[in-house]
């Protein structure tokens, strides 16, 4: 059975025809959001992470049909001057880069909930995202620096997501 859904993807309202069992992952990739990627297909790597109203969702496990009217953000839809992206770029938090958009979105979710996370809280939040290149030290540094800057500049929590 196919149905029409109308999610807002990165601020743009889309009208999409989907089948019952179409995955959100595949539907988003079909409309060009290739920052959303399959790494495992079973919810165990985080490469397919998207934010739905600011909450992280593994799009490889999500049926697209359930996302009618949803507010979806993918990493490539973040603003040009996004502070988390800047922090990742400055920290050199990327090797092959495949996993990184997932980490960027998870970091946004974390900092919105907890603007000054401890190392342990960062690790707890990112445990489900795998970086096989082992970029974890740089990712940790990037998140800490983004948190520091938010606290210094007084950006209201969640503003940039």
């Amino acid at each position: 059975m196919s149905a029409t859904i109308e999610p807002t993807v990165n601020g743009v309202r889309r009208r999409l025809t989907v089948e019952d069992d179409d995955l959100l992952l595949d539907v988003l990739r079909q409309i060009g959001r290739t920052s959303v990627r399959e790494g495992c297909g079973v919810g165990a790597c985080g490469a397919c992470t998207v934010l739905v109203s600011g909450r992280s969702v593994s799009s490889c496990l999500a049926r697209a049909i359930r996302y009618d009217q949803a507010e979806i953000t993918t990493a490539d839809g973040l603003p040009e001057d996004d502070d988390v992206i800047e922090a990742f770029v400055e920290a050199g938090a990327m090797q092959c880069g495949y996993c990184i958009p997932g980490f960027v979105l998870m970091s946004h979710e974390l900092l919105a909930e907890n603007p000054q996370p401890s190392r342990e809280e960062i690790a707890d939040h990112l445990e489900g995202n795998i970086c096989r290149c082992g970029t974890y030290p740089e990712i940790l540094a990037a998140i800490e620096s983004a948190a520091r800057r938010r606290s210094q500049s007084g950006v209201p929590i969640g503003e940039t997501t």
Binding site: T34, M94, C133, Y136
Partner: protein
């Protein structure tokens, strides 16, 4: 040498940002499956459920009748068209892209369904009905050597690579290649030694798990075949597909994209032969996008058994070392023979050893094929020699770091395999890592059920030799440059490194050198992007091409300014006459030369290394490799004796890189490899049951997460310049993974007094060993 003691240039030694860093973070970089391509039909593969069996029949009738199916192709169909050309492989031509006579592992492709949509072709692939006639399966490497059931009836060398030209055809054996090293008489020397240690060591097969899944698209383009693929080896793939389809090289195009990690998983024959064979024989565009479960079946790291011993005299010199290495290469050899020789020859470790013997064998079993994996078989032998030497030091009651330091190879030493050491500063690596973790400070005991320990290990690896790299450089009239190479950036940062090398010679700034992604229609031959060889080999080709470009600019300037070429210098401002101080910018110089804007000046260079093949009797060679990798790891950790869990407090890794072209990227390679090494030490393992992988999903296969990070991780860059490296540089991608597992195991030994000989050191293994220690004491 410390970073700042080198002559300062404009680019080399600088921490330039990755050329594609921002695009990666924003998710805008396009990997192979994201690239715009023509509409392709989808492919699903029907796979063997038996480890070893004759194919009696493959019935595709039901599958063909299903909705959305365009064609079903069996191994027999392809064999009828392609014949023996269907067998490919870098060492032996032993692997068909679809099995046609027998299957050799659970998961081997038997038939391919081509059609509309991944779901439709998958459903159809399930409807293929295969009848098998059971053959005796071979699961274990030692049983394979001893038994009379054979994975292959006959073998043919494939002769693609210079270093594998000595392979011979084989019959009636599962040992496809054997390397032996004999230096002195280790047996006799061991008999009179003061201290001897020995052990049977095992490293399980593991999987690379790059997060990007393998992907290949292929289509006929008139009389040509075009392929877009996730591969580290575009030049090899082009040759393989040309052989497979019997086409000249100029009718095969292999295009790459940046890789989302690889670590050896995406090289040689993966999805490309099947995609190309389907596209060519069916005259249609196809794409093969495999699932994670299928990716586990494409290649693995060699499981390896090592029986080893090491002996010292009273004075503490190593008088004898022996290693019997058996690499489990699975159903197809891949580059197993190269691994068997190159890693076998250093199986006794980077030490001054008076008498040494190695027997290293590459053995077929009925498992998925094992191939290259970061470290190239060396971590497996390092696991043995670094455990042995640690025990030998303990037997002598000597500090394990001090014992190593006294015996490590030094500059100018001839190693047991006959080659002289240069630019491999093991001692600085060892001292750096032990210094970092406070090796000489007393160890503070941990409280309660916790035990604290420290461990160290070193590692050696030879760079693949002989190999070839080419570079083509275009200097654009506006002064920017475009570099054409077939090195594939898979996260190691080669695009950035190569840009820095070219920029250094041509006095260009960050962002002024663009590196073109490998495309065999455009970029010149490169042996492989693997084995940490690119910085040295491609780097040298790039340096040479850039030097030719500099000389051409100087020649043009001398003519223009009517001075001698020796009077002209290239600087960041342009070409300058040292006599008259007259300066011309490069854009002006080229505009004057060509009389037009937008023009390009082109130079090219090739760089090839040579070797002396192994002596047939002794396995020795005076020039077995172009250069060495040297590294060390030291660790301080805590073992929880109740849970068996290991917590790493501080991990220090060092590598001698000759010269760091980009220290930030070098450090990142060191820490990245160390993180992967933590997994190999503590939990990473492919589990088989009767030839079937039982943990081939990411729910079951454990990978290091951010939670497994040590409290502290310290990468240390050691620089003893190589006499012919580009600016003294060598590569670094594998250096830190090599000593990692034994360093951790040696620290566990220090903490709880148990020597582990099997990897990984899972909590269950540690708990079991502790329970046995309670009753018996000893090794696990």
């Amino acid at each position: 040498m410390p970073e700042d003691s080198f002559e300062t240039g404009v680019a080399v030694g600088e921490r330039w940002a990755r050329t594609d860093g921002r695009a990666k973070v924003r998710g805008e970089l396009l990997y192979a499956a994201d690239q715009p391509a023509r509409p392709c039909l989808d492919v699903a593969i029907h796979r063997s459920t038996w480890p070893h069996a004759r194919l009696v029949s493959v019935d595709t009738t039901d599958a063909r009748a299903m909705d959305g199916v365009v064609a079903v192709v069996t191994g027999a169909d392809l064999h009828a068209v392609l014949g023996e050309r269907m067998l490919t492989g870098p060492a032996f031509a032993d692997q068909p892209c679809l099995a046609y006579d027998k299957v050799r592992y659970v998961g081997e492709p038997i038939a391919a369904v081509i059609g509309y949509g991944p779901a439709a072709v998958r459903r159809a692939a399930e409807e293929i009905d295969v009848a098998y006639a059971d053959l005796e399966p071979i699961h274990d490497v030692d049983a394979a050597i001893a038994g009379t059931a054979f994975v292959h009836d006959e073998l043919r060398p494939s002769a693609v690579f210079g270093d594998l030209r000595h392979l011979r055809g084989k019959k009636d054996t599962n040992v496809n290649y054997e390397y032996t090293l004999r230096h002195g008489n280790s047996g006799a020397a061991a008999e009179t030694a003061a201290h001897t240690t020995s052990g049977d060591f095992w490293c399980p097969p593991t999987h690379h798990v790059p997060i990007e899944l393998p992907f290949t698209a292929a289509w006929p383009e008139g009389d040509r075949i075009e392929v877009l693929s996730t591969t580290q080896t575009p030049s090899y793939v082009r040759q393989t597909l040309a052989d497979l389809l019997d086409l000249p090289l100029n009718r095969v195009r292999v295009r790459c994209a940046p890789l989302g990690g690889s670590f050896g998983a995406k090289m040689y024959d993966r999805l490309e032969p099947l995609a190309a064979a389907l596209a060519w024989t069916q005259r249609t565009a196809v794409r093969i996008a495999v699932t994670r479960e299928e990716a586990f079946l494409l290649t693995t790291r060699h499981g390896a058994a090592v029986t080893g011993s090491m002996a010292s005299d009273e004075a503490g010199d190593i008088v004898a070392a022996e290693a019997d290495v058996r690499y489990d290469t699975g159903a197809y050899a891949d580059v197993g023979p190269r691994i068997t020789a190159k890693s076998g020859m250093i199986a006794n470790g980077p030490y001054r050893i008076a008498n040494a013997t190695v027997r290293s064998r590459c053995v077929y079993t009925n498992k998925p094929s094992a191939g290259p994996f970061r470290g190239f078989g060396v971590p497996q032998v390092t696991w043995a020699h670094e455990s042995l030497i640690d025990e030998l030091a303990r037997a002598r009651d000597e500090d394990p770091a001090a014992f190593r330091r006294r015996n490590l190879l030094r500059e100018g030493d001839v190693a047991v395999m006959g080659t002289t050491m240069h630019s491999a500063d093991f001692i600085s690596c060892l001292d750096a890592v032990t210094g970092a973790v406070g090796w000489d400070a007393p160890l503070e005991p941990a409280a309660g059920r916790l035990r604290r320990g420290r461990g160290v290990a070193v590692g050696i690896k030879a760079v693949l030799t002989p190999t070839i790299s080419n570079a083509t450089l275009q200097l654009n009239q506006d002064g920017s440059a475009t570099l054409l190479i077939s090195t594939v950036d898979m996260g190691q940062g080669s695009d950035t490194i190569m840009a820095q090398i070219a920029a250094e010679v041509l006095c260009l700034g960050e962002g002024q050198v663009r590196v073109v992604t490998a495309d065999t229609d455009v970029t010149p031959y490169d042996t492989i992007t693997a084995g940490s060889r690119s910085t040295y080999h491609t780097g040298n080709a790039v340096r040479l091409a850039a030097e030719k470009m500099r000389d051409r600019l100087i020649g043009l300037a001398a003519g223009r300014l009517s001075v001698e070429t020796t009077d002209i210098k290239l600087t960041s401002d342009g070409v300058v006459s040292t006599q008259t101080q007259e300066t011309l910018t490069v854009p002006d110089l080229l505009l004057g030369h060509f009389g037009a804007r937008g023009t390009t000046l082109t130079t090219e260079a090739d760089f090839a290394t040579s070797w002396a093949p192994y002596d047939k009797e002794t396995g020795r060679s005076p020039q077995v490799t172009e250069h060495w990798f040297a590294g060390a790891a030291a660790v301080q950790l805590i073992v929880d004796t109740a849970t068996g869990r290991v917590h790493i407090e501080h991990l220090a890794v060092a590598g001698d890189v000759g010269r760091a072209i980009n220290p930030a990227l070098v450090e990142q390679q060191l820490t990245g490899a160390a993180v992967m090494g933590i997994g190999h030490a503590l939990f990473d393992e492919l589990v088989f049951d009767e030839g079937q992988i039982t943990n081939g999903t990411l729910l079951d296969y454990q990978l290091p997460s951010i939670k497994d990070m040590p409290d502290r991780i310290t990468p240390i860059v050691i620089q003893s310049p190589h006499r012919s490296g580009p600016f003294g540089a060598k590569g670094v991608g594998e250096t830190a993974i090599i000593p990692l597992a034994p360093a951790i195991s040696n620290a566990v030994r220090d903490a709880i007094g148990i020597r582990f000989t099997r990897l990984p050191l899972t909590p269950e293994r540690i708990i079991t060993a502790l329970a046995e220690q309670h009753t018996e004491g000893g090794t696990a």
